[in-house]
Amino acid sequence: MSTLTDPPKEQFRLSMLVNDTRYRSLTFQAIAALVLALAIWYLGNNLLQNLRAAGLNISYDFLGNSAGYDINQRLIEYDNQDSHGRAALVGILNTLLVAFLACITATIFGVVAGVLRLSNNWLVSKLMAIYVEVFRNIPVLIWIIIIFTIMTAVMPGPREFRRAEPTASMLFDLFAFTNRGVYTPMPVFGNGFFASTALNWLVVLLVLAGSFFVMRRVEAKATATQEETGERPKTLLIALAVWIIPFALLMLVMGLTWEVPELKGFNFKGGIKIGGPLIALWFALSIYTGAFIAENVRAGIQAISKGQSEAAAALGLRPSRTMNLVILPQALRVIIPPLISNFLNITKNSSLAIAVGYADITATLGGITLNQTGRAIECVLLLMLFYLTASLVISMVMNVYNSSVKLKER
């Protein structure tokens, strides 16, 4: 007679924490947690002790105090009586400005150089190879300084516009290229809807966005007609009308005039000043990152097998349509992810602005404010918080775009 018994219940032994794979991961995680907690406790304890010994405390009150320093390149009103917080805001806007401009131009440089590097013209492709290798193998900090130095050395100073026989003159009497920066005419609204310039610009943006959406409808309708009848109605005239007429009317109503920069005293006054540091930083970042993007673009295009373009040619597509309809949509899938990290790099590398005295967030909050107030920990924490947020937002936006171009599996 046989009796049914359960298999012997395994006793839990201490050695199983190390040798049994079921429990070992728990042991490792517990050790990691312990080490991490100890490290944080040790560092935090030291920090508190050191702060107490130095008579410091963590406080963000300094952001409300008067900053006392000037910032010459700024997007919003600011003077040296304003608070450290506003100086930081000016810095944030400056960082975003140069990052935005550099992202656009770097993409243009990169796409052009990447496509030209694949050209069957030997000279052009070699020239682009040299561009890519030279620019991405020299640190961007050095490029920023080189470009800034060359710009200040080569461009004429404002007084050369003044002499009895001026050695420099303004382009079309509208633009002045000097070693302090570029002065361009500034649009001014004589009778805008609002007193504030920013709100007036918002109206302009809204009108442009309206034109954009109307155009989208027009294009969609044209595509529908094309799919129905096989012939695409001409939309060029409609497009011109939709873009230009509302804009021109708005400009007329708001009384657009241009404020042209003029030489007054030792410098140009009026108009928009794009300072030398901004130009140097913008150009250096875009030409440096452009070299990286060029390689990404080249990789993306080469990832598409040659059969695709040959098949497209066999169907009778012109080279430009082959590029737009066959190669690029597939290449974008390969190009976008590294492009995201290049945009992140531009944003982070813009912190090198301090080398040429461009007042970005690292120079205002992490530079002058930190040195004036001595609030190292608070300033650096805020800096990191800003850059982290910016990076995460950029990668989120680009990931949304990435998922819209990626292969749709049906």
Partner: protein, 313 residues
């Protein structure tokens, strides 16, 4: 070759025509230029534009570069020599050559030490790069970091020897016990190394660095290209294993380990290097005990830099 050679038919060739060379425009440089530079009108325009660009670049840069002055002792003298013509003043490079290579304060009579370290670096790197070399050379590669430390910083030779001994003992312990149980080997190795380093620290007399064979050079006296090279080599060699560990940790099935790695990677990738350097230079002193010496803190700054830099992979 027809077998009816004798038969003659009008208007038919009797034999093969001998091969003739390709026409002049289909061979040699002419063909290459035509196919690669002037294959179509847009292509020709591109070529001409590229040539114009190259000419304008070279015609501006070459005179300045070739006219450069290398041997004057001051900027004023340099300008005198150039007499207002375009030209670079490279004298600053020749004048400050040693400073650029070794920094301001490295003792002049000790320059052979970093030079020797650089030479030995080539030998240490060789077996890593070329697999045909005898594998025994890898032993030298393993010893090299300690040797280089001793050569560049100088001081008592006991310090790198104790450090090396710690690693060797840890490796031996791991070899012996790591086969049975990975954990025993791993933690045993760490414990052994710590014990040896602490004992060694007690054994090395404080005055050892004064009577050492190579005079001691403090960290803050290092500089120039030498420092670049040191940071670069350390950074590359530390960042690869660290990067692999983090990448593996990110894929781990253990949630806690995975989240530590993810947060660490995203954090370090998301902030600019310069803010991490701020942390190292401004805030590090707050995070360590007040009695830690300046040299300790600056060494930490130096050693964190490559580690942080390494995460930028």
């Amino acid at each position: 070759m027809s077998d009816k050679k004798t038969q003659q038919i009008a208007f038919v060739a009797e034999g093969m025509i001998p091969e003739s060379p390709p026409p002049a425009r289909e061979a040699g440089a002419y063909k290459w230029v035509r196919e690669n530079l002037f294959s179509s009108i847009p292509n020709s325009i591109l070529t001409l534009a590229a040539l114009a660009l190259i000419y304008s670049l070279l015609s501006n840069v070459l005179p300045w570069l070739l006219n450069g002055v290398w041997t004057t002792s001051s900027l004023a003298e340099c300008r005198e020599v150039l007499e207002g013509k375009a030209g670079a003043c490279f004298s600053v490079l020749t004048e400050r050559w040693h400073q650029l290579l070794y920094g301001f304060k490295y003792p002049t009579d000790q320059y052979w030490r970093p030079n020797l370290a650089l030479l030995l670096l080539m030998i240490a790197l060789a077996p890593v790069l070329f697999f045909d070399l005898p594998r025994k050379l890898l032993g030298f590669t393993a010893v090299y970091p300690f040797l280089a430390f001793w050569l560049i910083w100088g001081g008592s030779i006991l310090v790198p020897i104790v450090a090396l001994l710690g690693f060797v003992a840890a490796a031996v312990v791991f070899q012996k016990y790591g086969k049975g149980s990975f954990a025993a080997g791993f933690f045993g190795a760490i414990a052994t190394a710590l014990v040896i380093w602490n004992l060694g620290g007690l054994l090395i007399p404080d005055a050892a660095s004064d009577t050492a064979m190579l005079s001691s050079v403090p960290s803050r006296d290092l500089g120039g290209f030498m420092l670049n090279m040191m940071l670069g080599v350390t950074c590359v060699s530390l960042s690869v294993p660290l990067g692999i560990a983090l990448a593996l940790g990110r894929q781990s099935s253990m949630p806690f380990i995975k989240w530590i790695c993810v947060i660490f990677i995203e954090f370090v990738r998301g902030v600019p290097l310069i803010t991490l350097l701020f942390v190292a230079s401004v805030m590090l002193s707050y995070f360590f005990p007040p009695d830690a010496t300046v040299d300790f803190v600056s060494a930490c700054g130096y050693h964190d830099h490559p580690v942080f830099g390494g995460l930028y992979r």
